[in-house]
Amino acid sequence: MEDWMNQLDWAWLQWLALGIFGFGAVGGALYLFFTKNILYGAYGLLTSLISVGGLFLMNGAEFLAVSQIMVYVGGILILIMFGIMLSAKGEKKEDALKVVNVNSLVSLLFAAVMAGGLIFYSVKMGGSRSLAEPSAEQVQDLGMSLMTTQVLVLELVGVLLLIVLIGASYIAKK
């Protein structure tokens, strides 16, 4: 890294990025929870998922961030949107995309318990985690173990994906 970069004050950038991603993640999820239009809810989910990807990036998990963006944002969210657009039907035009929350209290409680557990464990694990190494090597290590010690797992994942593909297309056909 060049010399002048060392002299910059990074603190503002760090907190700015944390603020943007954190706000996006929480805000998107809250919007999804409270919105009445399911399509807008999907946009809220989009914001939330991208922001979580950003948070992964900030914690040095680049591979996880790329996977998050590719699989969740680029794949699963598109699938959800297709699902919405396939099933959008209502008595009136305006009702087609309307959502009604039936279990707000239970789902909020569930989310609170999940969040509490996650925070508890991440605080607990925080001490043993080291971030000294930048993650360029992490992906390499992952590739190395995927090709050597975990190669059977890799092929099993391939078989699993095959099963999912066959099953999913079979169900979708029905």
Binding site: L18, M70, I78, M85, V157, L165, I166, A168, A172
Partner: protein, 167 residues
């Protein structure tokens, strides 16, 4: 607290690694904002209902933007998603596949091993694609062309004559 300390360290590393990307993102937003602001300052604003309507190549816009899709899109998206999951596994593989040291140490066997392994991995999922294809999950419903029995009274030569006359 150790957790927050680690987060700060992580933030620091990210800020260093992604400083240029961040600059590009920032630059993109700024450029767009500045250009749109300039346009807003320069342009005259005289809206009328005609201008405010949605532009559909001169056609009158009809119906709703939210319509039901063809169900086939869903299956295509599903297959795409599975191949995307596969693609995620290709990233770490790609970083070690061409490793010069490893190839040299093993007389090139490493590269053959790695590429075979990956082709097996891709091949397994390609089997699924072949299955979906064979079973007709990928077939699109084609609209039928109905042939009409209309017989024109004007003979074809008449068109030729006119074309010649005015060419």
């Amino acid at each position: 607290m150790q957790f927050f300390e680690n987060t700060v360290v992580g933030l620091y590393l990210m800020a260093r690694n992604f400083f240029f990307i961040f600059l590009f993102v920032l630059g993109g937003f700024l450029m767009l904002t500045v250009i749109l602001m300039i346009a807003k300052l320069l342009r005259p604003t005289k809206p009328n209902p005609e201008k405010d309507s949605t532009y559909e190549s001169g056609e009158e816009a009809a119906g709703d933007a939210v319509i039901s899709f063809n169900i086939r899109f869903y299956i295509i998206a599903l297959i795409f998603l599975l191949f995307e999951v596969e693609l995620v596994f290709l990233f770490p593989w790609g970083t070690v596949f061409g490793n010069a040291d490893l190839i040299e140490e093993t007389n090139g066997n490493w590269a053959w091993y790695a590429i075979t392994e990956m082709f097996v991995f891709i091949g397994i999922l390609a089997l699924g694609l072949v299955y979906a294809w064979r079973e007709g999950h990928l077939d699109w419903i084609k609209s039928e062309q109905i042939e009409s029995n209309f017989k024109a009274e004007v003979p074809l030569e008449a068109y030729d004559k006119i074309n010649k006359k005015y060419s």
